[in-house]
C-alpha cells in the first residue's frame, strides 16, 4: 500500500472516531431525548429528516419539566410544538401539520397545530400526563391532516396543497410562542416506523 493510501485510511479512521465519540448513549436506542434549554426555543439534538410515508407516528413522554407558569394568560396559551412536518415543498409557516402542547389549567394540553395556506389552525385534542408514554399520529391524506391521539382519531384539518411529490421535512420540539423555555424542558420521542 502506498503512503498516500495509508494516510487517507488514517484520516478516515480519525474522522470516524471523532464522530462516534460525540454520540450520546440513550437508554433505548430508538428513543431520542430532546432538551430545550432554558432561554431557548429550539431543542437539541438538531435534526434534519424527511417524512417518508403518509403517516407520522411516534410515542412521546413529557416529564415534570413540562410544567411552567408565565403569570400571563396570553403567554401561557402560546402553543409549544411537539413534532410534525412541513407539507410538500412548503415552508412550515405556509403549510404544515404538528402536534402542539401547553401547560394550562394545571394540565398538559395537546393540540393539533397546522398552517394551511399561511393561516394558522389550532384544535384541542386532549390532555396527557407528565411521565406517561402517549401515542401520536398524523395521517396525510389527499385533502386533510388527520390527527390521532393514543390511537383514537380526534380531528381532521383540511389541507390545501396541490403538490404531491417533493420534500416534506420533519419538525421537532420547539418551545414557543413568543417566550423561550423558562427552564430546561425534556421530551422523549420514539419514532414508530
Amino acid at each position: 500500500m502506498s503512503n498516500a493510501f495509508k494516510r487517507s485510511i488514517f484520516a478516515l479512521a480519525l474522522m470516524a472516531m471523532a464522530l462516534a465519540s460525540c454520540e450520546p448513549v440513550p437508554e433505548n436506542v430508538f428513543t431520542r431525548r430532546f432538551v430545550i434549554k432554558e432561554g431557548s426555543h429550539y431543542s437539541t439534538p438538531r435534526l434534519a429528516e424527511m417524512l417518508q410515508s403518509n403517516r407520522l407516528r411516534f410515542e412521546a413522554t413529557f416529564d415534570q419539566s413540562a410544567i411552567y407558569d408565565f403569570n400571563d394568560q396570553a403567554m401561557q396559551t402560546n402553543k409549544n410544538k411537539l413534532m410534525g412536518f412541513a407539507d410538500c415543498n412548503s415552508m412550515h409557516h405556509e403549510n404544515s401539520a404538528r402536534f402542539g402542547w401547553q401547560w394550562y389549567n394545571n394540565q398538559l394540553e395537546i393540540y393539533a397545530y397546522c398552517y394551511v395556506n399561511g393561516n394558522r389552525v389550532e384544535e384541542f385534542l386532549g390532555t396527557v400526563q407528565p411521565g406517561v408514554v402517549n401515542n401520536y399520529e398524523i395521517e396525510l391524506t389527499a385533502d386533510a391532516y388527520v390527527f390521532y391521539l393514543n390511537n383514537e382519531q380526534i380531528t381532521s384539518i383540511g389541507r390545501s396543497v396541490d403538490c404531491d411529490k417533493g420534500a416534506y421535512y420533519l419538525l421537532y420540539p420547539y418551545f414557543g410562542g413568543s417566550l423561550p423555555a423558562p427552564h430546561d424542558v425534556t421530551i422523549d420521542i420514539t419514532m414508530i416506523r
Binding site: 500500500m1 502506498s2 493510501f5 487517507s8 485510511i9 478516515l12 430508538f30 435534526l47 434534519a48 429528516e49 424527511m50 417524512l51 417518508q52 410515508s53 403518509n54 403517516r55 415543498n89 404531491d164 411529490k165 417533493g166 420534500a167 416534506y168 419514532m191 416506523r193
Partner: protein, 142 residues
C-alpha cells in the same frame, strides 16, 4: 423539482459520458425500519467518480403501513481513498420514497475487489436519521 431532476440527469450524463466502467450490484440494506433489497447500476470514471441509478424496497410490507417503502433514484460517489484491492467512497443517494417523499441519503462505502470483475461492498448511511448498513455484491460489466 423538475429543475433539480434535469440538473441531476445532466450531472449523470456528463459523468457517464467519460465512464470507463459499468458496475451492476445486488444490494441489501438494513435500516431502522427493517431490511430492504434492491439493485443498482453505476457508471464509474477512471478517477472512480461514479453516478448511477438504484432501486430498493421492503420485501414484506409492514401490515399497518401498507407500503413497501420503495426507494429509487440517483446515486453519486466520490473516492475518498483508492488502491487496487480496496476503495473507500463518499456517496449520496437522492430520490423518492413511496413514489412521493423526496429524500437525500449521505453515506460512506468500502469496496473490496474479489476478482477481476467481482467486488463486495459495505456501506453505512443515515436513513431516517439513524445509521443503516448496506451490503452489496457487485459485478463489473465492462
Amino acid at each position: 423539482m423538475r429543475t433539480l431532476i434535469v440538473l441531476l440527469i445532466l450531472t449523470v450524463v456528463s459523468t457517464t459520458s467519460r465512464g470507463q466502467h459499468m458496475w451492476l450490484s445486488m444490494l441489501s440494506e438494513y435500516t431502522i425500519a427493517g431490511p430492504q433489497y434492491g439493485a443498482a447500476i453505476l457508471m464509474e470514471t477512471n478517477k472512480k467518480l461514479g453516478a448511477g441509478l438504484f432501486y430498493q424496497a421492503d420485501i414484506q410490507s409492514p401490515a399497518e403501513v401498507k407500503t413497501n417503502n420503495t426507494f429509487y433514484g440517483l446515486q453519486l460517489q466520490i473516492p475518498l481513498a483508492k488502491s487496487e484491492k480496496i476503495n473507500f467512497f463518499g456517496t449520496v443517494r437522492g430520490g423518492l420514497v413511496n413514489d412521493k417523499f423526496a429524500v437525500i441519503v449521505p453515506g460512506v462505502e468500502t469496496r473490496i475487489n474479489a476478482g477481476k470483475r467481482l467486488a463486495v461492498g459495505f456501506a453505512m448511511s443515515m436513513r431516517m436519521n439513524y445509521p443503516s448498513v448496506l451490503g452489496k455484491l457487485t459485478y463489473r460489466i465492462f
